[in-house]
Amino acid sequence: MREALDQWDFVAAAYATGIIGTLAMVAWSWFAMKRAESLRERIRRK
């Protein structure tokens, strides 16, 4: 006997992948930009 697949499990997994992946990319690119721009300003002021 095979157990029926719960479609909501697949929906939840896909949403988690999409949301976590996108937000991680946004956060990483934002903080990398802030870090690089503050480094440039520090060098400029020296």
């Binding site: 992946g21 937000l23 934002w30």
Partner: protein, 240 residues
């Protein structure tokens, strides 16, 4: 257009456009995904898994859109030698790769309950996987070119050549037999009911804003690193 090739003018625009695109993109995408989860009825054939398309379809379009941006920027760099165009091409690679990966993973998750398998080696899935490998190769090539001070023309030529894969992905479901359905949305025509189409288009718009915001943030990062390097080099030369 040529005016924005000036880094100072570009930074003046990007400073307010980056947070605006990111915030509006996250809000629109969150709204569209919530709409897709709670307001859209289950599909007659796909059931509840139809909701996965609100993430899968925008990711697929932006995965291909990312490489299109690389190809166009590479062409501008090769023809007009705008250094900002080479930076734009490099900046499009990371969001393009992330959306291609999300497209492949969510497609696989959707395929298991719908097709009964996680993966098939058909034209659409294979050409999309090839796109992910092209992104990895482009990122490695662009980083190596920068580190070894080799001409930026090499990754630019690779970016142009890789664009051959974009029409292959797009037409793969027409040219070859595939488990993947044929195009549902074409120019001026849609096989999707309005109830699904409207949140899908809002999701595409929201994720596109996020792509634009991340691309601008990456361009600002690469530009800041270049400017910091140039200043340090100038100081070292003056000290000699």
């Amino acid at each position: 257009m040529h005016g924005f090739a000036n880094p100072k003018r570009f930074l003046g625009l990007a400073r307010w456009l980056t947070p605006l695109l990111l915030l509006s993109g996250v809000s629109l995408s969150a709204g569209a995904l919530f709409w897709g989860l709670t307001q859209v009825p289950p599909d007659r054939l796909m059931g509840e898994t139809v909701r996965i398309l609100f993430i899968h379809v925008p990711s697929a379009w932006l995965g291909m859109g990312g490489w299109t941006a690389i190809a166009v920027s590479s062409l501008v760099f090769l023809v007009w030698r705008h250094p900002l165009a080479a930076i734009a091409a490099r900046a499009a690679a990371v969001p393009g790769l992330v959306f291609t990966a999300i497209c492949l993973i969510t497609g696989s998750i959707w395929g298991r309950p719908t097709w009964g398998t996680w993966w098939v080696w058909d034209g659409r899935l294979t050409s999309m996987l090839v796109l992910a490998f092209l992104y990895f190769a482009y990122i490695a090539l662009a980083q190596t070119a920068k580190r070894e001070a080799v001409s930026q023309r090499i990754p630019a030529i690779f970016g142009l050549l890789g664009a051959i894969n974009i029409p292959i992905i797009n037409r793969s479901v027409v040219w070859w037999n595939s488990l993947h359905q044929p195009p549902s949305i074409t120019m001026g025509n849609s096989a999707i009911d309005t109830e699904f189409l409207v949140p899908l288009l809002v999701a595409v718009l929201g994720f596109s804003f996020i792509f634009g915001g991340v691309m601008l943030a990456r361009m600002r990062t690469l530009l800041a690193i270049l400017q910091a390097d140039a200043r340090l080099r100038r100081r070292a030369m003056e000290a000699v």
